[in-house]
Symmetry: C2
């Protein structure tokens, strides 16, 4: 099966690398050319536009930052849809708006090209290890055609429902993630303000009812004042914004998510957009003058 890949950032590059390892013929395109180099060295073919990526492909994958990027790279004049042959499949693995997803999907389908939304959880480490959890929206029969491709990148593939359902499930995931890291930030802020030893505290509570992936993986970074990403503040802020828009469309007031969204927005304002989500801790501490 021939695969095209557009968007070779933190996530996309290792995901594309796993496709090569699994033996798929791979064509890649990235706006920033140097990000294609390691893949070209490993056997990928680099082309000069998204339409060329799609030209020979059975499946074309996008892994980009936000809704406008995905819409443009698929629908523009030299975009993926312009090159895609009838009967091929476009799989968007970015995290974007469910509404924009449905718009893109119906344009693709009107042109005889199938579409799946398939955002992922598991972060860069999951992308590298090929252990992503892939949340799919679309038709079962289309999923079955691309399943071998997805299995090269993830070890859990769940069809959540019709088009957009993968994105909706991802936004639910991001609501939980955003509030779980905020929980860690406030718990540690209280400990710090009280003069409690943070490492002792983490050791004492990290296996009980307070435990979480965020507590295990990001609390030690907060204690060490290591703000390197993992998952960037800017992306978490975008995801909560999408979740809140979608929640508003569906009559689900999410008061804590709204607050968390504002705090991630503050983190951006304060200049920490490209730091890891654990940098939210600095916003919480700043409110106490720390």
């Amino acid at each position: 099966m021939k695969v095209g890949f557009v968007g070779l950032g933190t996530m996309g590059r290792p995901m594309a690398g796993n496709l090569l390892k699994a033996g798929f013929a791979l064509r890649v395109y990235n706006r920033t050319i140097f990000k294609t180099e390691s893949l070209v060295a490993a056997g990928a073919e680099r082309v000069d536009s998204p339409s060329e990526v799609a030209r020979a492909a059975d499946v074309t994958i996008t892994m980009l930052s936000d809704s406008p990027d995905v819409k443009e790279v698929i629908l523009r004049d030299d975009g993926i849809l312009a090159g895609a042959r009838r009967g091929s499949v476009i799989v968007d693995m970015s995290t974007i708006s469910p509404l924009v997803t449905r718009e893109i999907a119906s344009t693709c389908e009107a042109n005889g090209v199938d579409f799946l939304d398939a955002p992922v959880t598991g972060g860069q480490s999951g992308a590298i290890a090929g252990t992503l959890s892939i949340l799919v929206g679309g038709r079962q029969c289309v999923l079955e055609r691309v399943r071998p491709v997805l299995e090269a990148m993830g070890n859990k593939i769940t069809l959540m429902g019709p088009t957009g359902s993968g994105q909706i499930a991802k936004l639910c995931n991001q609501v939980v993630c955003g509030l779980n890291i905020l929980a860690v930030c406030e718990g540690l802020a209280l400990a710090r303000a009280s003069g409690i030893d943070l490492e002792l505290l983490l050791d004492a509570i990290s296996e009980g009812a307070a435990s979480s992936w965020m507590l295990t993986n990001l609390a030690p970074k907060i204690v060490a004042e290591d703000w390197s990403p993992g998952f960037r503040i800017a992306l978490q802020e975008k995801d909560l914004r999408l979740a809140l828009q979608w929640a508003a469309e569906n009559g689900a007031p999410l008061v804590a998510t709204a607050l968390a969204g504002q705090l991630f927005s503050a983190a951006k304002t304060l200049g920490w957009a490209d730091e890891g989500t654990q940098a939210l801790s600095k916003v919480v501490l700043a409110m106490g003058g720390r």
Copy 2:
């Protein structure tokens, strides 16, 4: 070593049971007498006042609901301190105010009785299994004298610092717990409003960055609309109130914890005080008319 125990509720009764199993001579007192029956049948001696519990004890343990209860049962005329011999130790394992803890401790110490705060995490299941994490505040030498008693109830004992530090650490834990369950409630509310299959969602996200003890243990209860406690809404509300009071005293504004506290307070107002903390979900859903 002779041990006294006051407060035989959901947590206290199995903890006292584990002391009996470990071979400690046990005297118990509880305001509601029938709660002592299973322990008396297992070999405990029931007496009629907290002072009598303490009379022969090397260590007297309290496990009660809130600061006023603990203060009264230790300091009142026929309270624990009135019966405790000089050189014995009072260990309060309730979750109460760090400030009240320090008041009680200094009154005890002025009367020649040592004091430790030693609240626990691990819930009723940990109390039954003897696998509690015990967060201790006080002096190391006092802890060493009572360590065998604590080891009969918990498998992780951490000296967090001077008197009150156990309570402070517990409040940090409760901040994380309160926000983690709120995270689950909002994530599931968004999924429900969107028509996403909740069980599929939990299966897809429960091992990734959204994972938490709350997601694993309480999200399935929310999906099943099972509001039975675990840990009661009323106690989580009280713990967040204590955390916010302590945070205010220490110049640590905790905006999300304050919001969570209000939502738990709403759950009490709506009549769900004695349900499990997962009943917070009903408050979140109510805001969307569900």
